[in-house]
């Protein structure tokens, strides 16, 4: 008799999801344009003449003029920018290396696989360990284990990544000899084996922030009303934890990693230097010591664009996974 067949609001319309997608893509595109511009100005806003930096303080005016020409610095700034953008669009490149003459893109592509593998391994480790620690802390709130896990971020926050690397080398490389002290091993297994220690180092820098906010997130879920509903309904706590708590805290983890990916990449570059891995990080440092501007610009640009794309993907994934965003009109 009291059948309340008030109809259900239409779920996400094609129109609104298309609008959201266009907006997200447009934003990302705008950020990329800004990134390109920032990279272009990078060597122009800093004090000092790049040519002088490359050639040294006491170089001849002719040499400087010719270096200006090589770098395109003798053109008006607008033309320089156009040339930079054109080169980028047609070749995906920021110019040829001043030292070797090879294109920056090729140099970077050559070094990218190791760095990418390291980043993937580190992210995987970071997520796994943080989820585990956060879950242990949240389910044991205010007990000894929780306090121990909560102190952990406080201590590790101030640990420089290279120092952590050094200590790990000292312990696992030099003393225990479980892992190589540096360099990259031969073949797949060798490579993975030699990257474990660096990956742990990078992950280590991410875990404090991840654990801290994940724990808060999980506590919120654990103390939410719907969990009482499920408990009251007699669903086994194992099922509640795996199916409901974990899923509800997984989304924020994903978002957090999207925000932190930039820090993770930065950490990777430094860690490569500590472990002597020939990746993008070591390319950056060798380019810096040789003042190889096009390569430096290329690295900055590719890293930034990678971050923008990953953030976009994360944003899209979480939008897709979260029904709450779609229910809204």
């Amino acid at each position: 008799m009291m059948k309340s067949n008030t109809e259900i609001k239409p779920s996400v319309t094609l129109d609104s999801s298309r609008r959201w997608l266009t907006q997200a893509l447009l934003r990302a595109a705008l950020v990329v344009i800004c990134v390109v511009t920032a990279v272009f100005f990078l060597i122009r806003i800093v004090p000092g003449d790049p040519a002088k930096m490359i050639l040294g303080e006491y170089s001849t005016p002719e040499a400087i003029a010719s270096m200006h020409h090589t770098l395109g610095l003798d053109l008006p700034i607008g033309d320089q920018y156009l040339r930079f953008v054109r080169n980028l669009v047609t070749h995906g490149d920021t110019g040829a290396s001043i030292i070797s003459g090879t294109s920056a893109r090729e140099l970077i592509a050559d070094r990218a696989p190791v760095t990418l593998l390291l980043i993937v391994m580190a992210s995987f480790l970071a997520i796994l360990l943080s989820l585990l620690l956060a879950m242990l802390a949240a389910t044991n709130k205010d007990k000894l284990l929780d306090h121990l896990i909560r102190i952990f971020p406080t201590i590790t926050l101030g640990m420089p990544v290279f120092w952590v690397g050094l200590l790990l080398i000292l312990l696992f490389g030099v003393r225990l000899r479980w892992f190589p002290v540096g360099g990259v091993g031969e073949g797949w297994t060798g490579m993975l084996h030699s990257l474990i220690l660096p990956a742990i180092t990078v992950a280590f820098t991410q875990i404090p922030t991840l654990v801290r906010s994940l724990r808060a997130q999980m506590l919120e879920v654990l103390e939410s009303d719907f969990l009482v509903t499920l408990k009251a309904a007699g669903i086994p706590s194992r099922v509640i934890l795996l199916r409901h708590v974990l899923r509800n805290s997984a989304l924020p983890t994903l978002m957090l990693l999207g925000v932190n990916i930039s820090y993770l990449i930065g950490g990777t570059l430094v860690v490569e230097q500590v472990f002597g891995i020939k990746g993008i990080g070591s390319l950056l440092f060798s380019s810096i010591s040789k003042r190889d501007f096009p390569v430096i610009q290329g690295i900055a640009l590719y890293c930034a664009i990678a971050v923008v794309i990953i953030s976009l993907l994360v944003e899209m994934a979480s939008w897709w996974l979260d029904p709450r965003t779609k229910g809204k009109q």
Binding site: N5, I8, T229, L230, R243, H244, P323
Partner: protein, 251 residues
């Protein structure tokens, strides 16, 4: 009516640390009977419900008294949206509870879940496409929560201000649904509210709570007509009077 009560609460005391939240609360409930717990915020009425349910919030402990119950209890909460997992489609949530509580096959669980939804007057379109809580209205969510409670086949239904967050017209529909279900399924009910009018209409017995203890209890109608405690009188006064609508003979 059976002779022995199915729920007996005696001298119940709850505390958080050194702070007493509920003290010396006691009442009993027979099969199919309904009891209204009335009071303002901080009166300990919701905590009493959670104690009966056996799921006290973190930090609150039972420090005295006994709760004797022979049947299962299920609960409905104040905010229907928050009492459902936002990332799980609603039919799946009902189904899950049926599966674990009634120990049937997945397929049977789904059939039972759909029957429950039908019984609660939820739109048929849910049978084809499952929806997330955020896509339903507050009233529809509350019906899902009731379905989850019924899936436990409760002997007692605990209601914690189930209509406070809803509009008046929806409130009327939900209360009507609860009344109808109680008549059909013959469960006992403890209904917590701050609105004496709702409590008195729904329940035959009332307990008025203030700051953790019961100040007055008794038969609903006599309590309304001859309140002994000034606090009860105040609660009666707080139901603001409306003039009689003309041309509405039936209630």
């Amino acid at each position: 009516m059976s002779a022995s009560p199915i729920l007996e609460v005696e001298e119940l005391s709850l505390a958080a640390g050194s702070k007493t939240l509920v003290s010396g609360v006691g009442f009993s409930l027979d099969r199919g009977e309904s009891l209204g717990l009335v009071g303002e915020s901080g009166s300990g009425k919701s905590l009493t419900l959670r104690a009966i349910l056996g799921l006290l919030p973190r930090g609150v402990e039972q420090v005295g008294g006994t709760i004797k119950s022979e049947v299962r209890a299920a609960m409905i909460f104040q905010d229907p949206r928050k009492s459902l997992d936002p990332l799980c489609p609603v039919v799946r949530q009902v189904e899950e509870v049926v599966y674990y509580r009634q120990q049937v096959s997945r397929k049977a669980a789904r059939t039972i879940a759909l029957e429950l939804l039908e019984m609660l007057g939820l739109p048929d379109s849910l049978k084809q496409t499952d929806r997330y809580p955020s896509q339903l209205s507050g009233g529809q969510c509350q019906r899902i929560v009731i379905a989850i409670a019924l899936a436990c086949k409760p002997g007692i239904l605990l209601c914690d201000e189930p209509t406070t967050a809803l509009d008046v017209t929806v409130q009327q529909q939900i209360l009507a649904t609860i009344t109808r279900l109680q008549q059909e399924l013959d469960f006992a009910m403890v209904f917590v509210t701050h609105n004496l009018a709702i409590a008195a209409t729904l329940c035959s017995k009332l307990c008025v709570m203030k700051q953790g203890s019961i100040v007055e209890h008794g038969d609903a109608l006599s309590l309304l007509q001859h309140p002994q405690h000034p606090y009860t009188q105040m609660l009666i006064d707080s139901v603001l009077p409306l003039p009689e609508l003309e041309g509405s003979a039936s209630v």
